[in-house]
């Protein structure tokens, strides 16, 4: 959405190594526009938190430069960067009340007392904790502490807010509620947010764009819908959402589509050519479970059958694990419309559109 605007945060050829032997971050190039909500998503150890710490100033890039508002920031100490941050365990100061926690960044900036009071109250009201100023962090619930941490990161009007898995310690319901709250606050005040998480649904819910990290490299940087519907490689396809895979070899390339012969002689599949180049290349096909239809033979050549291995009743839909073309982890979601009569062991007729199958790297 902000692709056209000038980049506000710019990572340029960033490498990071702690021991001189292993690169934790490899050649990172990332542009973040002003007002954008960008999430760094990836499994633990993928370098996303390191990247965030470099931006905050607690780690130094081994190579490359980070620009904030077109100025290089490597030489600026963390306390002069004017970047707010919400830490994983909030890092609220336990010996200060909520109000004192919030005044702290203002006091060190030598802002006048009445101004501090006003700003603190405004920040507390923003996170709906207006009456909690005199409490100590230990007297608050996890969700309230989370909000205080958020308010503290915003109260001094930083140029940028970083969040390092801020919802990791909350239970599921609260986490979802906080996701919306953070998103709404972002929408309201329009601040640039860089968010780190390993929870893909969190990333999909909140972000304008998501950078998927794997092993120190950004695999794909895109909006949530494109990331989910059009993954560019098998890591992203597997990491974001549920994904069925079939392995094969490319037999024919035809413009943007290709034909793949499945391993084990199960037949040919027509697919979109995404991350393969030539005939004879090995490939992994990716199909989302909800794009597979059952007992519907109207689509083009991708018609297969699978044996039901397991049925799991989930209320709104029934999750069927099938054995399809040698893959017994093939998942299909059947909407619970009351017409599904099959049992475990039955053969199902399956089909999918060739636009929904993506031929990716193996």
């Amino acid at each position: 959405m902000n692709d056209t605007s000038q980049s506000f945060v710019k990572f340029e050829k960033i490498d990071k190594s702690y021991d001189g032997e292993v690169l934790v971050v490899k050649n990172l190039n990332l542009d973040i526009a002003k007002g954008e909500f960008v999430t760094m998503l990836g499994p633990s150890g993928s370098g996303k938190t390191t990247t965030l710490m470099m931006l905050a100033g607690f780690e130094t890039p081994t190579n490359g430069e980070i620009f904030l508002d077109t100025k290089p920031i490597s030489k600026i100490p963390p306390y002069e960067r004017e970047i707010g941050m919400v830490f994983q365990n909030y890092a609220l100061f336990p010996h200060m009340t909520v109000a004192e926690n919030l005044s702290f960044p203002l006091e060190v900036r030598k802002i006048s007392k009445p101004d501090i009071k006003e700003k603190v109250q405004k920040a507390l009201d923003m996170v709906e904790l207006g009456n909690f100023g005199t409490r100590f962090p230990a007297q608050l619930s996890g969700g309230q502490q989370q909000r205080v941490a958020l308010a503290r990161a915003l109260v001094f009007e930083p140029r940028l807010v970083l969040m390092d898995e801020p919802l990791g310690a909350l239970d599921k319901n609260l986490r979802e509620q906080m996701q919306y709250e953070i998103k709404h606050i972002h929408d309201r005040i329009g601040i640039t947010v860089v968010y780190v998480t390993h929870d893909q649904s969190e990333a999909l819910t909140m972000s304008n764009r998501i950078a998927v990290f794997n092993d120190g490299v950004v695999e794909q940087l895109s909006t949530p819908d494109i990331l989910y519907e059009k993954p560019e490689n098998s890591f992203v396809a597997k990491f974001i959402g549920e994904n069925n895979t079939l392995n094969g070899v490319v037999r024919e390339v035809n413009g943007s589509s290709c034909t793949v012969e499945l391993d084990g002689g199960f037949g040919m599949v027509k697919a979109l050519k995404i991350n393969v180049n030539e005939v004879g290349e090995k490939t992994q096909l990716s199909i989302r479970p909800e794009r597979v239809s059952i007992d519907n033979l109207t689509s083009d050549s991708n018609n297969f059958s699978g044996k039901i291995e397991e049925l799991i009743y989930l209320g709104d839909h029934i999750r069927a694990r099938l054995d399809v073309c040698g893959n017994n982890e093939f998942i299909v979601k059947v909407p619970n419309e009351g017409s599904f009569q099959h049992k475990e062991g039955d053969e199902l007729k399956l089909s999918w559109n060739s636009e929904d199958v993506r031929a990716l790297d193996l």
């Binding site: 963390p78 100061f93 060190v108 001094f156």
Partner: protein, 425 residues
């Protein structure tokens, strides 16, 4: 549906009152818990409560002398000091028989006590007893006991001796406490300062305080960075460092103290190095041991672990993200340390401080060995009276005052910091 709200006792399903049922159910557990701690309770009672109680009683106990001279003291109470210069005849008479028939050992003990009240009593009574024994042996009965006494020794006509009886006639006496504070009773029974040359306790008390406060401060200054390092180094290095911190615990206190003598004495290691480096001349060797400086150095080293360990245990649980958060919020590292880190270490500082101070104030071996004449602390006096003069009453009083001071500090600490904040590990 209407829910009946009753204020009556809650009942279990079987109709027994709930509280009674709960008591019954919990009785076994309570009994078991009590039996588990009982040996410890007994142990503490026998080895801690009883000795301390006995000591506290001893510090005010004056009953021994009352059991030796019961009649004399009874008669003495009838003496009208305003009317007569000397006590009445009955006093002399009772004393005559009590000296003549008394148990020699008991009288000996009583004499020691009498000498605390007024020096000179011991030799006076000893001489007099010899003479009285002679008189009794001859079978004579003196016409006037008073005159007989005065004939034996003219001091029996000196009322100041008799006045000093005044402080011994009760079973309880505060004399030891006053002695422990360089005070005594005068002839009228008022509290006055001791003779100038006998005043040493106040001086020692003050020195004990001074040394304890300094040792606490030095331990804090030296221990804080070490504890911080311990808490923040990678485990591999911090374990090694921890061994160095704990090493003193595994070495005999005596060895460590004497090692300090070797290090600090005038011909010791440190002076040797300084002379070798040319920092000081051979004649200008620094006196670092057998004085207060030596006491301070050695005690600081010996008590340092007691400061480091509580500090470490507190610092270990302060998340590293706090300093980062403070800096991220715009605080310079120094501000972040002072406003975010330091306040969170207060439980450790106060626990370590209290521990070191309490240990230092009652310290004995180290000051005794390296303290010399002007580095001795109050513990040395307690040991001296316990072993050399056998003045256990004074020992007990000194100990009780020490205990009282500690309790006052404990109370102050609880008022200011709160005892719940203490963290020892």
């Amino acid at each position: 549906m209407e829910v009946p709200i009753s204020t009556a006792e809650l009942l279990t399903t079987d109709g027994i009152p709930l509280k009674q049922s709960l008591r019954k159910a919990e009785r076994r557990n309570k009994l078991r818990a009590f039996l588990l701690v009982f040996p410890l309770l007994l142990f503490i009672f026998v080895t801690f409560v009883m000795p301390i109680g006995d000591m506290l009683l001893r510090s005010v106990d004056d009953s021994q002398i009352n059991s030796v001279f019961p009649n004399t003291f009874d008669e003495y109470k009838n003496w009208d000091k305003g009317a007569d210069e000397l006590p009445p005849e009955e006093v002399y008479k009772s004393l005559f028989f009590e000296l003549a028939n008394g148990d020699k050992r008991q009288i000996g003990k009583a004499l020691t006590r009498m000498n605390y009240a007024k020096s000179g009593w011991k030799s006076l009574i000893k001489k007099t007893t010899r003479e009285i024994k002679k008189i009794v042996k001859k079978g004579e009965e003196p016409v006037s006991y008073k005159d007989t006494f005065i004939k034996i020794n003219k001091f029996w006509g000196d009322p100041t001796y008799w006045y000093s009886f005044n402080q011994m006639v009760n079973d309880r006496s505060s004399i030891y406490y006053w002695n422990a504070l360089d005070r005594t009773f005068n002839e009228d029974g008022d509290v006055v300062l001791q003779d100038e040359k006998r005043r040493m306790y106040i001086k020692t008390w003050l020195r004990t305080f001074k040394v304890s406060v300094y040792v606490t401060i030095f331990c804090l200054i030296l221990g804080f960075p070490v504890a911080h390092l311990l808490a923040n180094l990678p485990l591999r290095y911090s374990n090694l460092l921890m061994i160095f911190v704990l090493l003193p615990f595994w070495t005999s206190l005596l060895v460590r103290t004497t090692a300090w003598i070797v290090m600090l004495q005038q011909n010791g290691v440190i002076n040797g190095i300084l002379v070798w480096l040319g920092v000081i001349s051979d004649d200008g060797r620094i006196q670092m041991v057998y004085n207060e400086v030596g006491t301070l150095i050695a005690m600081t080293q010996i008590l340092l672990p007691f400061m480091i360990l509580p500090l470490y245990s507190v610092m270990r649980v302060i998340p590293k993200s706090h300093m980062r958060a403070a800096q991220n919020l715009g605080a310079k590292p120094v501000t972040a340390f002072l406003r975010v880190y330091l306040p969170q270490t207060i439980p450790g500082i106060s626990a370590g401080g209290l521990l070191v101070f309490v240990l230092a104030i009652g310290y004995f071996i180290t000051p005794e060995l390296v303290g010399g004449k002007d580095g001795k602390l109050i513990g040395s006096w307690i040991a001296y009276h316990l072993k050399t003069t056998l003045n256990w009453g004074l020992c007990a009083a000194l100990g009780a005052i020490l205990l009282g001071i500690m309790l006052i500090f404990y109370w102050l600490y609880n008022k200011i910091v709160g005892i719940d904040n203490i963290k020892l590990g």
